[in-house]
Amino acid sequence: MADVLELPVAPNPPQPPRVHYLNQTRGIRSWLFTVDHKRIGVMYLASILFAFLLGGVFAMIVRLKLLTPGPSFITAETYNKIFTLHGAVMIFLFVIPSIPAALGNFVLPLMLGAKDVAFPRLNLASLYLYWTGSLLALVAMVTGGIDTGWTFYTPYSTSTQGSVGLMVLGVFIIGFSSIFTGINFIATIHKLRAPGMTWWNMPLFVWSIYATSIIQIVATPVLGITLLLLLMERLFMVGIFDPKLGGDPVLFQHFFWFYSHPAVYIMILPGMAVISEVIPVFSRKTIFGYKAIAYSSMAIALVSFLVWGHHMFVSGQSQVASAVFSFLTFLVAIPSGVKVFNWLATMYKGSISFEAPMLYAISFLVLFSIGGLTGIILGTLPVDVHLHDTYFVVAHFHFVMMGGTVMAFLAGLHYWWPKMFGRMYSEKWARVSAALIFVGFNVTFLSQFVLGSKGMPRRYYNYLPQFQPLHVFSTFGSWMLALGFLIMAAYLAVSLRKPMDAPANPWGALGLEWTASSPPITHNFEQVPLVTHGPYDYSAPVQQPALQGAGR
């Protein structure tokens, strides 16, 4: 066995290394055929950022249309396609892969002290499948598009014109990408932890990613069979979802939501994973309630499979089932609440600094809490009867998916950016961007809670004149958001043109990934690390390089 390296005294490898994972081999083939988890993570990152851009453009078009009721610069049919594609692209091509595939692929082996994930070739296959499925989805978009809403409900989806089949096939293939990532991560976490890293002193990021992977493995195949059945209905009229033939359209919804509800936890758990990493570092304090957070991650994974019927309260589902699902929905909020309180308790009496990762983490705490609480409101059966399919629902899921997951993704992106690319970004512009995004987000989506509770239905092209002021306000917010993201794209791109000036550990963080160089060498560590302390022991006397001043 290779020499082991004892921590907590962090070694000081040459920084930056002359040869690292980015420059060790060159040429496009060395990237397209790599099995290095870091390169795969970077390629995923570029891909999901492109997907975010695409989905974002669709969103801007939707909000632009909604400035006025009635006929506009796009027809109603086009509008239906645009919001459908906004949803499908954002969910399947951006949010679900974002943190696990882009950040997790890069960071997980480093965090565990491993040289790679358990199945590097399967990892590359995941990427290929993601690209293939995305390509099919793009072809579907340009060859007629789909107007079913991202939820593909029958009977409309089984009978409408448009490229439903192609899109469904694309999503089916992306599903395999998700499954393979989940398989890879679980095997990696079980078998590739460094010596000394037990289940109870691995970073909480790992616990949350583990829980995410369980959901990916159990839920995604059901999406697969749902999509196959949809194709069978379209092609062969097998009858399962068609009431004229004795089938049940609500059955489609059961099938669809058995995946899609756990899927939202595939989206939020990795976000929570990042927050558990960022908050202790920027509070200079040990995480509060390590085991509670770990158990909560697993509880969320389990209970997430028990609540899907809360999407179907007004679909024709029986009252008994609806009542049961409503009750179970209240339960699933509890572990999330436990986590929020633990993060707050971590910050309490900590020594807090407000670098960009922490700004996004704090945004997460505020916005995810609002999103989560409004989820409870929607889970209350009699209330949902009025709020279902209104903008209240739209606001809720944007608060959890964007105010939650995207904020956490941005926190992680900024936190690990120096590790991935060896450069620091401009802290000043990062703060400007974070402020614009936080304010813009609230302007865009708080107004939608009001719109929804006043009765504005979702997915509607036209609306009553009394809703216009709030729609205008919301659209204005979307422009602030866009500006914030454009600024972010600019300073991140600019940072990549600088020489590699980042230290190995710019945040003074514990955790094995910070003992590797920035950027890491291809095999991650010169020597196999030996773990002798927990990942958040900020109280222990540790030799750490002083926290570098924020970049220009």
């Binding site: 066995m1 081999t25 060395s30 055929f33 790599t34 099995v35 290095d36 082996p109 491993a114 040289k115 790679d116 994930v117 358990a118 199945f119 590097p120 070739r121 399967l122 499954i179 989940g182 398989i183 890879n184 679980i186 095997a187 990696t188 079980h190 078998k191 590739l192 493995i217 159990v218 839920a219 995604t220 195949p221 059901v222 697969g224 069979i225 749902t226 196959l228 059945l229 069978m232 092609l235 062969f236 009229m237 097998v238 009858g239 399962i240 033939l245 004795g246 089938g247 049940d248 059955l251 099938f255 291809t522 095999h523 196999v528």
Partner: protein
Amino acid sequence: MSDQVVAAGHEPYLQHHFAKPEQQADASKIGMWLFLVTEILLFGGLFVGFALMQSRHPLAFLEAHKQLDKTLGFINTLVLLTSSFTMVMAVHSVRHDRRRQAIAFLALTLVFAGAFLGVKYIEYAHKFHEGLLPGRFYSHPGDTVPGQFMFFSFYFMMTGLHGFHIIAGMVLIAWLIRRTARGDFSAQYYTPVDLVGLYWHLVDMIWIYLFPLLYLIR
């Protein structure tokens, strides 16, 4: 692949990010079981749909299933069970460095798999002849209970998906035969044989449930 380094004294099958062969084998097995769970959930969806539709149309399903040949289904069940036996014997042979015996058992597994598909072909041909086809192509005359076609929608989807997995399994087993003949496996390293075996047993297990649910309804 270009990034892998084979150190001196390193077994050729041990990948560079694993410290020991056991670690690699254990990880591979965990990965395979996780994949099998995805297959269980995939087919499980069809079972759930079948259960729902059967409880909605019990008479139609009962009447429709009489078109299935119980004897052929019974034979196919025995055939597949035997193929599981020959598969596990193939793994056993490789573990004892008996290459030719392994190839023989793998080939036998292929034969039984082929037999399974042959019987299914006979069944399908009979169905097509009778107009018992999926969905819009259903044209069976003389149905006494409306909705019988729905049973056949499920019959073809479930046995079709299962048959697809049989074919995929056969391709994998043929690949194993090639690699075994090349001497890739030994008592020290037989993970691919083990994993394909697990996959094959799962395909058998799915049929163990399909047979009574489709052929033996009362």
